[in-house]
């Protein structure tokens, strides 16, 4: 019997070639975007301009990679491809933290606090929230995506309402200073902060990569994964902590960018047609960085800075998502 088994072609074996091609294409796009961003219309002191732009590229890469990978992880542990950390209120929470801190300390005093201390504080609050989310929601609502989603929407609404309240109590001049912090900006990133963030994100990515196969099993669902010998609760906890780091670092670094992870991860699932993390994670990570750099490039060159990458991504990201949703459904 085993002889004929060996003679048979391995029909239906997952062929990785498609996923590898997709990864390669995204990689090329990334290089193109970086090149365009770095070299287009260089004026004045070359070394100064290059250094400035390189810093922005690093920041944008961190943000794009972090948000996209966080979204993929979140999809896997929640068993749903539509939920994102942003829909669960991470972005709104960030805005709330900023607004409340500005109200408590005064905007200018707040902005004068050492960036690293501020960064650590923001990181701590966001991670606390992620673990709370895991504890209160993901566990109790396991499998009940509707409930989880609704809880997330309600929670975002709550955070937003509170931010609105606090914003009303701040005087208009301070509000303008604050507003700059609320929408992602790559023009004003602190160098030391950038270094610290790079280390954080890199460490998180190493852990993610090491658990890529376990994540594949978790995507099957709680019972199947348990039956295969995976400690789902532990894997979920670790994954949520990683989500917190990967969302908190970029958000604390440059502000909230809604939709980015959602957009890139779903585009990657459609393109690679697999859920295997060893393909989807690198692809979404690079795609995230590419979209961000591309958007920023367009804005800097064609909108003369009088807008923000996050707004543009929110607008086009939302539209693209609706289109994706309709297409996905029709298949």
């Amino acid at each position: 019997m085993s002889a004929d088994v060996d003679a048979l072609p391995r029909a239906g074996t997952f062929r990785p070639s498609r996923s590898i091609v997709v990864n390669a294409i995204i990689g090329v796009c990334f290089l193109l975007a970086v090149t365009a961003f770095m070299t287009y219309d260089l004026k004045g002191s070359l070394s100064f301009a290059l250094e400035l732009r390189a810093k922005k590229v690093v920041a944008m890469t961190l943000v794009g990679v972090g948000l996209s990978v966080a979204t993929v992880l979140f999809h896997t542990v929640s068993g749903n491809r539509i939920l994102t950390p942003a829909l669960m209120g991470f972005d709104a929470l960030y805005i709330l933290i900023q607004t409340v801190a500005a109200y408590l300390f005064g905007t200018f005093a707040f902005l004068r606090i050492d960036v690293r201390i501020r960064f650590v504080g923001e990181l701590a609050v966001m991670m606390g929230f992620a673990l709370l989310l895991n504890h209160v929601f993901l566990r109790r609502t396991r499998g009940d995506v509707v409930l989880l989603m609704l809880a997330g929407v309600v929670m975002s609404g709550m955070f937003r309402a509170l931010s609105n309240l606090v914003a009303r109590l701040i005087d208009p001049n301070e509000f303008v200073a604050l507003q700059d912090r609320l929408f992602a900006s790559f023009s004003s990133v602190d160098e030391q902060l950038l270094l610290a963030s790079t280390v954080c994100v890199a460490l998180a990515l190493v852990v993610v990569w090491r658990m890529r196969y376990r994540l594949d099993a978790v995507a099957l669902g709680h019972e199947h994964a348990t039956s295969l010998g995976v400690d789902v609760d532990r894997t979920t906890k670790v994954a949520m902590a990683l989500v917190a780091v990967l969302v908190a670092v970029p958000t604390a670094l440059v502000g909230a960018i809604t939709f980015l992870g959602l957009l890139t991860s779903n585009a990657v699932y459609l393109a690679t047609r697999t859920f295997r993390h060893r393909y989807t994670i690198p692809a979404s990570a690079i795609a995230g960085a590419t979209v961000l750099i591309g958007a920023q490039f367009v804005i800097e060159e064609f909108f003369e800075f009088n807008t923000r990458a996050s707004m543009v991504i929110a607008f086009f990201g939302g539209i693209a998502f609706i289109v994706l949703l309709l297409k996905e459904q029709r298949r």
Binding site: M1, S2, A11, F14, L220, T226, V230
Partner: protein, 253 residues
Amino acid sequence: MIDVRSLVKRYGDTTVLDCPELTIDGAGVTALVGANGAGKSTLLTIAGRLLEPTSGTVLIDGHDVSTAPSRQLAARVAILRQENVLAVRLTVRELVEFGRFPYSQGRLTDEDHHLVDRALMTLDLHEFAPRRLDELSGGQRQRAFIAAVVAQDTDHVLLDEPLNNLDLRHAAQSMAMIRRLADDFGKTVVVVLHDINVAAHHADRIVAMRDGRIVADGTPNEVVVASTMRDVFGLDVEITEHRGRPVVLHFVA
């Protein structure tokens, strides 16, 4: 060997399972039967460490399922629940490949591929291997999940109502397959069944439960008798015989 020791499961004040002792050993098919809410699935899911007991233990080959590393257990026991809806879209082969996860942690060796092929052949699924699960019929999907269990190649296989939602033909095929797991592969199969006649015809041993307790345990001929059936199902039935196995005529009572 599956060894259940003073196992209790309570929800609040309600005791859904109270099983002082039960040992299942050796190749063969053991059927858990009983009315709805008798505790059969609870017992099975605790044994498969998908559910924590209130007190007591289940040992599989001497390993306590609540404390032994999940990964080690996955090489000894496979459990298949009745709800098999996946959030991810997989091909049949991809699903069956997951059966090798406990051994390879995702990186399949040649031997793993070989075992996957064998499982697909065993369940006659080779031609469906590239198809996606959501494109298959309920019976084919059920077979794919059983193939994954075969690929997992554990000594113990726990199946929770595998015939649910299957038509007559597919139910018969599935039972034949379950028989083969015991006869050809020498596995200890424990299967929750709600149809007493299916159990009587296919099982080597029947464990009958009521209100969380075991009320009868033995060969089909020992268990499927009118008095026990009244205890288990609260129904007066006539029993006849077919090919040396008892048949319950529950609809004539």
